[in-house]
Symmetry: C2
Subunit: 377 residues, 2 copies
Amino acid sequence: MTGPTAAPAANEASAGARKPGPPVIDVDVHEAFSSIEALAPYLEEPWRELILRGHWKGFTQPFVYWASGGGNRADAKPDSGPPGSDLELMRRQLLDAYDVRAAILTGYFYPVMMGDMQVEFASALAAAYNSYQIEEWLSADPRFLGSVHVAPQDPQAAAREIDRVGSHPQMTQVLLGITTRAYGDPFYFPIFEAAQRNGLRIATHHTVHVEGSLGMGRYYIERHMLIPQGTMSQIISLICSGVFDRFPDLKFVCLEGGFTWLPHLMWRMDREYKSLRQEVPWVTRLPSEHVRERLRLATQPAEDLSRDELLKVVDLIGSEDVLMFATDYPHFDFDSPLRSLPPRLPDSLERKIFYENARAFYGLPENGPKTAAAGAA
Amino acid sequence: MTGPTAAPAANEASAGARKPGPPVIDVDVHEAFSSIEALAPYLEEPWRELILRGHWKGFTQPFVYWASGGGNRADAKPDSGPPGSDLELMRRQLLDAYDVRAAILTGYFYPVMMGDMQVEFASALAAAYNSYQIEEWLSADPRFLGSVHVAPQDPQAAAREIDRVGSHPQMTQVLLGITTRAYGDPFYFPIFEAAQRNGLRIATHHTVHVEGSLGMGRYYIERHMLIPQGTMSQIISLICSGVFDRFPDLKFVCLEGGFTWLPHLMWRMDREYKSLRQEVPWVTRLPSEHVRERLRLATQPAEDLSRDELLKVVDLIGSEDVLMFATDYPHFDFDSPLRSLPPRLPDSLERKIFYENARAFYGLPENGPKTAAAGAA
């Protein structure tokens, strides 16, 4: 839901005690720490001391936000700390406001944004974030499932970090932030090897460093329209470099990159594959087959489709199993489970998008992830 | 049509004297000169002498082609010179092989690829190419319609060149090659002003310098899958910088960037516009309205859609007026008028895509462009 007409979820939920809407697995929820100093207890030295001295201020973005709440829902700001940092507020506005059975935590903290400078610091930040997420979020509510943060600019260190925390029972995936790096490059294969041996999935999510094919754009609105290109490019890169073929157990999910371009991308990749595949003999199947079997896309931002439009898009994708619902809480373009997808979808499709596709993708038990996570907590 | 199964058009046409297939306006035909020296007679000094001395070799691409005919149809190579350089062969394989009533010549020569160095040379190349196209192609066959080539890195010079040749009765549009420049930037407004005052359209076409959001890609097949991103980005740039609003008489066509992503792009732009338009108050309408009224997309490469898929895509675009057929002759991924779009399309839609949309877009008379161009020749 976007724009001034987007009602806060808290209001939507206030109608009654019974949770409104369908059972949901929300695959893109952005928890946050209260300030960069909150990460310090989890950081190794010398980085801890340097941060406590204020020698690094954390990440920021190279543009100003125009929306009333900046990059976040205006009503998601707690009394102290940034949106997403207050567990109780998140429970009230998201987990308990709707029938959210599980929430995949994706943070909004991408050590890849450090670039190629001081990669040891970037790797230390990733490790600190994972420890923080485990200690302060995964242990706090069994509905939370985690993402392993890494600094992909040092793939060997990333693989070690995946081995360190990847076996945590609430960890689901390795999270790769999209900047201008193409993750199909064999440079990154140690990350995929580590994810595969730990039974984790691969997730992508844009960072504020994502670009379109002509750069960042002149305006924030322009850049926001360009975000899907980073996701499309990663899929193309992963397919053409044979990551789907070389790592047969891996599954992939692209978060917050949209989904209505997927029919185009599958048709385009298949057409090129038919005529130019001699260049990439390690790609052993039609790209669309890899996509339908092993790639999932989060729905947010859902682009205000009509029922007929969404059904046509799903039909053109050729599978009801690809889309997984996400809210993107607490960001400004939050998708409400009640209003971001069109009403009166066929029951089976609605259940797949809001719940079942994510349950299957993340390998959660039939009786729901709450039980599984509770067992792990 | 792509791949080893693509039959040469000459074979398709040999079945009989009557031209097969529907009447066609082919909006993307790549004529070529026999060698860079062929341009010399049209070049101003000192550039003519420098080229004749071999001090510049022309453009090339930073990758090797794998297909059997390189970047071109293997059967389109004349006895001498590159594919596209032999008028008689082009007539035989394209104009007379199908019922082609008009062909928009787009060359494959983009002075923008000179970059920011020696912009005077780039502008001289553009002028020479226009003179060459007028003298050696437009005057040779009334079915040919031309594109004004410019060096957009010097917008004032580009505007002067548009004024010099833009009134030629067979000139239809200003051709902007896509590299990594975003043409919405006000830097380029003199080009749009000149196009508007000369009654020309704006066409975009990728160059071999086009990139995806993560760069060129590791393989040619990957890069070829990324090409549409350059087109999507230009549309986003033109919309967000208000080019559609500031130049109300201009119409736009994007060549060889595909089209099946257009529903996604319109939905995405509209959603962002609804929530973030305060940043771009000069954009006065929903982006999708600008697109449907004034933007056209060439069909090639047509991505091997089924009839049902194409009809769904047209339905999701929300208009039958947006698509215009192109063959991309003589390039390797040539789309045959007989086989690249699915059979048994509704008559009215088929006529629009192959003929009527281009006729209306280019303002050709009801009785067909051949007559109009003949009057001009």
